[in-house]
């Protein structure tokens, strides 16, 4: 079964056309990366898949649910980590995970979240005292603790130092192994080739190339995805 099917998706903000008729499919259990420069339309696409934005044209299916009709059902099986997301600062990490767990079934997932976040004793400190890396770990934990069928992560490692970024990539790989499908975005073309099973290169609202990172490098005789991107654009 396909986890995501996007067909000729168009999104306009008033006159600005941010996404210009893109199509792609993500298989269940895959880590799929949407790679492209700033302003390419990654966030817009992810927000649509995450039920936040309305579709201008085209169609999107998540595990066979039609996004236009079944948004409420889709929200039960996805989780979304927004680009530069935040948490309620006056809560502690544990309280925040508990608050979110309240929207799902149970208390057990809080324990799982605490394990993913791996903040040690700091989990009981106020979020406002956390560093950027700690906050991001907490938010990733929040997004993954309920074992969603589909995790949508918008630039999950952007702005983090090498160590923190690596930690988060490991977490993502682990949950994918456990069966969660991952759709993520990044403008960092180097990190992504090690993480994703398949990628789509997006530029100015259009998907310009798609495939397995290794295949793409071979196809364009490139050393890395950055070179692939330059090749394709030129």
């Amino acid at each position: 079964m396909n986890a995501i099917e996007v067909n000729n998706l168009v999104k306009r903000y008033g006159k600005i056309e941010a996404v210009k008729g893109i199509s792609f499919k993500v298989k269940e259990g895959e880590i799929f990366g949407l790679i492209g420069p700033n302003g390419a339309g990654k966030t817009t696409t992810l927000r649509i898949v995450a039920t936040l934005l309305q579709i201008t044209e085209g169609e999107v299916k998540i595990f066979e649910y039609d996004l236009k009709k079944d948004a409420d059902e889709i929200r039960k099986i996805i989780s979304y980590l927004p680009e530069d997301a935040g948490a309620y600062k006056n809560l502690t990490g544990r309280e925040y995970l508990r608050f979110i767990a309240g929207f799902f079934d149970g208390e057990e997932i809080v324990e799982k979240g605490i394990k993913i976040a791996d903040l040690g004793r700091r989990i009981d400190d106020k979020i406002e005292t956390y560093s950027k890396g700690m906050t991001r770990r907490l938010l990733v934990a929040r997004a993954l603790m309920n074992s969603p069928k589909l995790a949508i992560l918008d630039e999950p490692t952007t702005g983090l130092d090498v160590i923190n970024a690596q930690e988060i990539r490991k977490i993502i790989q682990k949950i994918a192994k456990d069966g969660t499908t991952v759709l993520l975005s990044s403008h960092n073309m180097l990190e992504i080739e090690f993480l994703c099973d398949r990628i789509a290169l997006i530029n100015e609202g259009k998907i310009i190339e798609e495939g397995n990172p290794e295949e793409l490098k071979r196809k364009y005789s490139a050393r890395n995805i950055e070179e692939v991107f330059t090749e394709v654009v030129s």
Binding site: T51, Y80, P82
Partner: protein
């Protein structure tokens, strides 16, 4: 409207006189009255009821009745009585102005007569200084109340019925501010997007935020009510007058109506704030957005303090009725005089108002306007600073 009200205040009051004495002093009294007021009814005999009818029709303020023994008593060193029948139109501060003028006429009559008595060499000083005794009956909203003046009634009513407006205003501003800033905080902390992808219905988010602040608002209301009722009780005991003795009091059903009115008014305030809150970009802009709500809450409070709904010009009546926060503020006074129509009509209006606003808020949450921020004109209007 202020101009109109001022003119009204400067106009001479319309007075009626029933003179059953037809003596020297009753005609002196009449002359003083005529110099200060416009006397539109002047008869003798059993004419009080007829005079009051005419005064009511023409918007008169009071009727003076001088009994047969008026001049006789004064000549015999006995206080003479003028019975004043007040036609009270409203209990707002502005409604009281004409009765103040009439009080002044009474004072001048007393002065004039004591001057004459002193010239004639009358020496019983306590009598000479105050030869006229005033007895009064106030007619207000179809009730005749003996032994009480409009200003006393006005004082009691205003202490009772300014409580609700003040409390309502505080609650609307505070609870409404909570709703708006919670939206501002969601945007500032970047938590709104996460919230909107959780498996929770949009309407539940709207209701959750509204109910949360409504509970805080109602708790505040109760705390303030208890505080104010202590204050008012001490105030009323010192006045030693109880309007309940005149049948002006609230029963259990009235309190239930006030409660319902407060509830719907709070609900519409909070849903209005919810809609406004969707324009908030961050905590600071949320604070700015509370201003229109505060103004809407303050306007009816002031109008009601100065004038009764009944005595307002037509356009102001419409404005007051249209502002949803007016209704609980007006409810207490209307109910004291068993004017159920305006109270129930107000509750219906406010309930519909709240319902529509909640629907709008839910609709905004169902579209992607909260994320894209594409609700243009009001933002431009409020945000430019």
């Amino acid at each position: 409207m202020i101009g109109g009200t001022m003119e009204e205040a400067q106009k001479k009051p319309l007075i009626g006189i029933v003179d059953n004495d037809n003596g020297v002093f009753s005609s002196i009294t009449k002359n003083v009255t005529k110099s200060m007021a416009e006397v539109i009814y002047d008869e003798s005999g059993e004419k009080v009821d007829e005079g009051l009818e005419i005064l009511k029709e023409k918007g008169g303020t009071a009727l003076f009745l001088m009994p047969e023994n008026f001049t006789y008593n004064i000549l015999n060193n006995i206080s003479a009585v003028i019975h004043v029948y007040w036609i009270m139109k409203g209990a707002g501060i502005m409604d009281m102005v004409s009765s103040d003028v009439v009080e002044n006429i009474m004072y001048q009559i007393n002065q004039k007569i004591s001057e004459i008595l002193i010239e004639k060499g009358k020496m019983n000083s306590s009598f000479v200084l105050s030869p006229i005794k005033k007895e009064e009956t106030t007619i207000f909203k179809g009730k005749e109340m003996e032994g009480i003046s409009p200003s006393t009634i006005g004082n009691i009513l205003s202490s009772q019925s300014t409580t609700v407006p003040i409390i309502m205003m505080i609650i609307i501003i505070m609870a409404g501010g909570m709703v708006i800033s919670s939206m501002g905080m969601e945007k500032e902390n970047k938590t709104l997007e996460t919230l909107l992808t959780l498996p929770v219905r949009r309407s539940s988010i709207v209701f959750g935020k509204i109910v949360g602040s409504a509970i805080v608002g109602l708790i505040m209301a109760i705390v303030y009510m208890i505080g104010f009722s202590y204050y008012i009780n001490s105030f009323q005991q010192s006045m030693e007058i109880n309007l309940a003795g005149y049948g002006i009091s609230l029963n259990f059903f009235d309190y239930v109506l006030i409660g319902i009115s407060v509830f719907f008014s709070l609900l519409s305030a909070l849903s209005l704030c919810m809609v406004l809150g969707t324009f908030a970009k961050n905590y600071k802009s949320a604070q700015t957005l509370t201003v229109p709500v505060s103004i809407l809450a303050i306007i009816p409070m002031f109008i009601i303090m100065f004038k009764d709904f009944d005595t307002l010009p037509f356009t102001l009546k419409i404005i007051l009725f249209a502002i949803p926060f007016s209704h609980p503020m007006m409810a207490m006074r209307s109910l004291l005089f068993k004017n159920y129509f305006i109270v129930i009509a107000g509750i219906l209006y406010v309930a519909i108002f709240a319902f529509i606003l909640i629907m709008i808020a839910v609709w905004v949450f169902k579209t992607d306007k909260l994320i894209t921020g594409r609700i243009k004109s009001p933002r431009k209007f409020f945000m430019r600073r």
